[in-house]
């Protein structure tokens, strides 16, 4: 009996709460990145290996605009717009010609793109990490720590962006177009829906979402040319665990995995905590390959 009491007393409750918050914050950012990825896959059947680089470029755009204008929020808006346009340009030049070809081609093309974008960033901005300043510093007391408000704000903003997009998808005309094009590309065209442009817009939106995460997350990590790599990997794990093309699943998976990693880093180093996500992936592949959070396994 005593050992049980000792066990429960030894659990660091305050740290668990802190890690829960951290997990949710990271999870929301990851959800934002993964949403874009799963959207692009679900609607266009394209695996966008360059997604992490769009995240990274968003962060860099944020750095640049912040440096010239001093306003974080302006930086956020401009970064999203610029990267969305870049995304549209990429889709038109690189992905449209590949429409209808073997999916292998888009995997290779986006992979090549990620190399180009990464090295472009390295070339333009150099290897030294930059920092984005938070728009406000302000903390509240959580146990013995000062927990920054900013972190909660970005979690909220990410949720808002995802939620806003979901509403747009459900009610707007464009949302109907996207859903129609996803279900039956041919009939959508026969109804006058300009499907190639729908695809371009979807890619641009996905890119914009990645850019937003880049800017929002920038203050928490250094901005450097390789930051996309870690995140794209995590995002892919999230997308597979949540179910490819399943928006709700990706969000749940993102939070789930981030929470697990946050808890794990109480006991092991962060570099090793990522193994948690790998384990989640392996378990998913073993038992529910269509996704952990898919309601009916197909």
């Amino acid at each position: 009996m005593d050992t049980v009491i000792e066990f429960f007393q030894a659990i660091p409750y305050d740290q668990i709460v802190i890690q829960t918050l951290n997990g949710i914050v990271t999870g929301m950012i990851l959800a934002l990145i993964a949403s874009g990825l799963t959207l692009i896959f679900g609607i266009m059947d394209v695996v966008n290996f360059a997604h992490g680089e769009l995240f990274m470029l968003g962060a860099y755009m944020g750095v640049v605009v912040l440096a010239t204008s001093g306003s974080f929020w302006l930086a956020l808006v401009i970064a999203v717009l610029v990267v969305a346009l870049l995304g549209a340009a990429i889709q038109i030049t690189t992905l449209r010609p590949l429409l209808g070809r073997d999916p292998l081609n888009t995997i290779l093309a986006t992979f090549g793109l990620s190399l180009v974008l990464q090295n472009y960033a390295l070339w333009q901005f150099g290897p030294v990490a930059r920092k984005i300043q938070e728009p406000f510093t302000g903390q509240f007391t959580l146990f013995y720590l000062q927990y920054p408000w900013y972190r909660l704000v970005i979690a909220g903003l990410s949720a808002a962006i995802i939620g806003g997009f979901w509403l747009f998808l459900k009610y707007g005309t464009f949302g109907i177009w996207i859903r129609a094009a996803t279900q039956d590309r041919v009939m959508a065209q026969a109804m006058g829906i300009p499907v190639p442009w729908v695809y371009t817009a979807v890619f641009a939106i996905g890119a914009g979402m990645a850019a937003a995460s880049g800017v929002l997350f920038g203050p928490l990590v250094g901005v450097n040319h390789a930051m996309g790599l870690d995140w794209v990997l995590k995002a892919f794990i999230v997308v597979v665990v949540g179910g490819m093309g399943n928006l709700g699943g990706s969000i749940l998976a993102a939070i789930f995995i981030s929470l697990l990693e946050a808890y794990a880093s109480l006991w092991v180093s962060p570099a090793q905590a990522v193994i948690v996500s790998f384990v989640a992936l392996i378990l998913t592949l073993l038992f529910r390959p269509t996704g952990l959070f898919v309601s009916t396994p197909r």
């Binding site: 090549g112 390295l122 070339w123 193994i275």
Partner: protein, 317 residues
Amino acid sequence: MRNRQPIFYWAGFSVILILLIVAPLVLPEFWRRFLTEILIWGLLAMSSDLLIGYTGLVSFGHSAFFGLGMYGAAAALLTTKPPSLWLATVYGLVAAAGVAAFVAYFSTRLRDIYFAITTLIFSQIFYVIIFTWTEVTGGENGLTFSRPPFAVPGIFSFPMTSQTLHWFVLAVVTISYLLLRRITQSPFGMVLQSIRENEARTRAIGYPTERYKIVAVMLSGLFAGLAGVLYAVQNRFAAPDFVFFLVSGEVVIYNVIGGIGTLVGPILGAAFFLLLREGLSRFFTEYYLIPVGLMFIAMVIFMPQGLLGFARRWLNR
């Protein structure tokens, strides 16, 4: 592929082989090593072609097989005295095969895109393990060791100079090429190609496609691991960088540039890419990947058959 006369093929093959044998005698040291490296990366690319070109599976996991081959060899060379080339090869192949079996088990049940993603994630898993398990793998810094002699204990022993190493590598790569060629032209290889064309139909005819895919991944992993062993012997170190998935990506680039499904194409692709990198890095320093990447994307869009395919069509005019 069998559209030219076998005699021309073997004639061409012999000519190239002779050139490669003679090369280290005439080339300066730097280019000698460069040529050897091309052969090693070519072997890695060939192993990848078995999956991409013949089975239709894009694998980003080759860096794991390559890396484990490297580390396996390192383990042998560091732990046994005297360091034995053959033991290093065995250890490397076993390690690579083990990893390949593991990856194969999970990935082969998935279709195209998922397969690519899971192999990528698996190579990252091994990267993280190797990177963080410092006591065993040397972590970030990797492992260094000395080059073993080319020896059969008790019978003879030659030190492995860069020349003898080149010939050794050439022999291994040539034999591997011939083996792979035999495999792809065998009934087994035909089934793989049928899987590439239409897996559902192949399964409907009655072939257990999963098992074929698993064997394909393992074979591919073995040859990739062999390349890793060769690399370890040549460079005398093993580092986690080689397990990072970007290396797999580069290998896939060699395949596409050279022409998938040709075995020879990937070697050409590797040569082309490495030469290009050498050349461009004189002008662009580290940013050579930007023009190369753009070129690669253009090739995927306009020349999906790769250099070899393009050359073939040009010759057939």
